[in-house]
Symmetry: D2
Subunit: 375 residues, 4 copies
């Protein structure tokens, strides 16, 4: 079978996750291309070599440019901090190689647009890793809405809250560095925005609020010196969708106790859909018109009737995990690269998501409603 040479740049949380997914996908799915772990690049030869061994890549390099240029690399997979995405992606695009990039695509919408424009000009396929869109229960939510099963969409209430920055003594990381753009609104907010767009549609206008809760943090692990935090720990927006629905979007990484509260509720004129990723194998569905005394939300458990579940396990209730969702993402990417349906979200969609992120921040700074098109 034809091989797909993978060149992975970065080997952190997401680098490992991509690697797991590429390893797992051929065993789970019937694929037209077989991923081949060709090369891994990281900040140094040593780091890259060690990661390559751990993740099963054939070769490694401390210079991502070599990876982009390597003839065995068919796909450039970027899982670095987001300040590096653009340079690597543009090089890959210039080399005519498809790019698979982690989210958020760029520190700001302007750079994201450059990337999307470049890819489209070059006719290069792109993919951005908004994992949760590939959760079968999120896909089910979209299907229910698209089918009109809950009528016209009236409102959306979404949040992505975790607590990994709750501890005020948690030190700086690249996620807190203002050079990377924004804080939680980009890191987690982009996920719930991606879902809002996926399930309900484009956001026309919004008013945002952002807050830096922990004003300064240690510059690094074990350091007593502190640095001022310039990015947001919390973000919120009231939104109006192009289709007339309204709603709210929130993000926090200081939500004590919340580990994966990526949750949303879509209310329609005839029903409601609820998903929460702390129970990512469930979807609650209410529809109007049930018999009196028998009305209620139905709890649907993930099972073979949902997209791509069956390939993992043929029995309902046997649950998918986070890595399985990433495997579904990789499948969609491989199918797209082999000529199937275009992958979504691509750079263009990631740019649209980033615009909403930027709009929330701009709106918060200017303390006013604004149209997303202003960004």
């Amino acid at each position: 079978m034809k091989k797909l040479g993978i060149g992975l740049v970065g080997s952190g949380f997401m680098g490992r996750s991509h690697s797991h997914a590429f390893h797992a996908a051929p065993g789970i799915f019937d694929l037209p291309l077989t991923p081949s772990m060709e090369m891994l690049a990281d900040v140094s030869e040593e780091v890259a070599a060690k990661a390559a061994r751990a993740l099963g890549f054939a070769r490694s390099t401390g210079d991502w440019r070599k990876l982009v240029a390597d003839p065995a690399v068919d796909l450039v997979d970027i899982t670095t901090p987001n300040t590096l995405h653009k340079e690597i992606a543009l090089a890959a695009i210039e080399a005519g190689k498809p790019v698979y990039c982690e989210k958020p695509l760029a520190p700001n919408a302007a750079e994201a647009r450059q990337m999307a424009d470049a890819a489209e000009r070059a006719g290069v396929k792109t993919a951005v890793g908004f994992n949760y869109l590939k959760n079968p229960m999120v896909a089910l939510a979209r299907e229910i809405v698209a089918n009109g099963e809950i009528g016209e969409v009236v409102s959306f209430r979404g949040i992505h809250a975790e607590d990994y920055m709750t501890d005020a003594s948690a030190p700086f990381t690249w996620r807190l560095d203002e050079k990377g753009g924004h804080g939680v609104v980009a890191d987690l907010g982009s996920h719930i925005i991606s879902i809002a767009r996926f399930v309900v549609g484009p956001i026309a206008s919004l008013v945002g609020q952002i807050e830096t809760v922990v004003k300064e943090r240690p510059v690094g692990p074990g350091e007593s010196r502190r640095r001022k935090v310039l990015v947001d720990d919390e973000a919120r927006a009231l939104v109006k969708f192009e289709n007339g629905a309204t709603g709210s979007i929130e993000a926090s990484w200081v939500a004590a106790g919340r580990k994966m509260q990526l949750a949303f509720e879509v209310t329609g004129s005839k029903g409601t859909v609820v998903v929460d990723h702390e129970r990512m194998n469930e979807l609650d569905l209410y529809v109007t018109g049930q018999p009196a005394g028998r009305e209620g939300f139905k709890k649907i458990l993930a099972g073979p009737a949902q997209a791509h579940f069956r390939e993992f396990v043929p029995a309902p209730g046997h649950q998918l995990g986070f890595n399985d969702i990433k495997t579904i993402e990789v499948r969609a990417l491989i199918m797209a690269l082999a000529g199937g349906a275009p992958f979504q979200p691509d750079f263009r969609e990631a740019y649209e998501i980033q615009r909403v992120v930027d709009a929330i921040v701009l709106s918060a700074h200017e303390k006013r409603w604004l149209d997303v098109s202003e960004v």
Copy 2:
């Protein structure tokens, strides 16, 4: 024992609820005054007489002024539609009689302020029926926050959503009449605002959004003629509290499937508290600093350790209901009338709540952030 002569104006949902509570309170609590159901007023002699029989009132009248003037009536209890609150309350205050009034206090903040001012000038005690503040689990949330058990308050996320207006063919009621002021933001929004103030504190500024989802409705039951709806079916606000915490507040009466989603989440620097009135006997509490591998939200069930539970039933898990909460409210009122701690929320606090309601609407119309003090 000394009697407290009750004069009830109105006999709908809330009139019945107050009546249940006055009947039940002396059996549950050791009270300094015994409620005596003296007189019930309603829109006509007939309606009042029938309600008085059903609810155990000694006398009835079609003219609330007679009730206010009646020497046996010690407390004027107002459960009419809110457009009537002011006139009745002012008459009672003029008569020097304490007033117990359903929420929202008035169609707008200006009228609410007149009422509060009048009561304070006259030195008359007042009480407003924001029932859910009397839920022991809401009181527990406040206690946990006040104790600092979750550190400094960082954020509040609250909603009150129900679905009784979801059906687009549901006809006009007084709640939809713009003469009564606002729509759901007043009817349900005032509840979640009352909780936000009770648990976190005053709201300094906000930006609001309101939406009329069903644009017109039948003028009455069984009528085909339709009338334009001018009040809100949905409302949202981003808020900043005076203490620096931020948050969001939402209200909807078109939230299909939600029957009593009066839910809130208070996040602090060291923990989180969650309450949802669809399970009103529960409170979820997370605190930081739990041992690794044993971290989690604790589900606290209502029981005798919570305020006023023991008087209803001495065993935990045996649950209070909606009417029990109203009985707790009535107890607090009777204690206040007998010289105990002042009842809260009084007209002044209800005015402050109404200001937030009005501020949301004004902000939504003007599409800008505003200080609540502007209202």
Copy 3:
């Protein structure tokens, strides 16, 4: 309106609960008889007098025989420890007065049968306070089963577990005294047995297991002297119903953390019903034949569509509490006394429940299956 003179014997947890219910019922329901709190009897004049004041009874006595004989007492209401039930009930029956008695009816089935026989011979109406049968959601479970909405009943899995005896230093009470018959199998087990019979039907045979977990306890509060516990802390049975369904029944008062786990699951050939009293306003219903990908348990919240909810509160989601259920029980009793449908469970049904209790204990002692008819 005609009065119903209540004579209450006992003023503990259940005495108070009955009193609350009699006070509340006329305000909630339209009743043919008005309860009048005539007399309260307890272990001494002093105790009785104090309780009478607290609970609103006109007179009191230290001698229950006077209460039974009192011409103003129309109903003898027994809430004493169960060793006293028989003597009082037989006296009331002899006086031709209807009896309302707490559960379990007697320390053993033989005495329960005597009581049932005596009542039937005398044509006296009886009622036994298995409260939870009056929970609208339990009634709904029965209705769903009776309607065939889940097909033929296949199995029943029920438990009543609480934790009030978990602490090994919790002292003796009358509930632990072997003179009162059995332990948790009678105290809590009788509740889940009453539900099994109510929802599924009579139990034909069973095999039981009982266990005394805490072998000895302090003789009283603050006492260091210990007494051997002879009754069960835990009980279980496998059962076969007369209609062919099978199942299990469990009871425990040493179930750490469980406050009101009176929970059951009825599986039918076409669906399943689940109720848990820690969330007593909910019922989960699954039916087969739902569309693929939309299958799930439906969570039905208590509301006006369920029996007797509307009289308490007209809005769904606004929850009933434990005392409300007791009020529903009292309503059914008053209706029966006024010539309406006979109250269930009566002494005969309570005897049948007690037979199952005794059968579990006997089976456990003899370590064999037995027919309930052997008891």
Copy 4:
């Protein structure tokens, strides 16, 4: 790195699951041996060849004896229906090759013992795929119990219920064939028995009940001819553990609506642990001694603090799925084969589990309590 040649016999649900796990394990874990998919055997050359292609095995055969004899096969992995386990396993043992076999090990305890005896005599390592023991939350339950965090174990209440045989028109499969031994008590019951033993300890005695709910079924898909079902659709037992704890165990494959209700509750003298595989990333823990008014079950979400979670994903709340658990199982097996801690459960433990299965069935037939040692 040293390779571990895998020979897989069978390619159904579990064959695929094992294959996924072997593919995934080296990417997730740092392993001393690298699995190499050497050969796959199935009922025919054609079936085997197709499965080998799909699952990434190098070679295939229609004769499992060739697989056992193949020098490149280091591990014989058996995922056939259980009637075939013994013959294949004994051949592998004779060839001195370790065996990894799906559960239940054999149709009955006698055969399981032969297999365990043969393996021990030959000094061959064995492993049986009771997946759920490898769920980190089940391991956590065991750890909590073993640590004494909930005191002495008092009782166990466990169930494994699904609904794949609810439909009375679901046709015969090998699982229903009495030649394979028992019905659900073996298929699902063995899982909950394995957990009971893993968390609490050996079962000394029991009384069982089994029931064939659907008395006859179509002989095959689309067939109108019916065959009598001789195995159980439901099974229950009351048990006594060797350590004195008591409990109940249930299994059903006709539990309408239940997809993966593998749930258990361990009550100790000082707390309770609850796990339910429909939410397999959660564990509820209650401990006594919490402050008054702050008592409750704590919901612990799976995260890096639990065994083996971190290797899959470093962030809590990001959930493992069914296949991940199987990957943890494969890791433990590979470590054992490389000289690490012996794998559990091995054939000996699987025999002990099977004895409990057989004891339930025998007890049900003879309608008596029996010691598991009688089997």
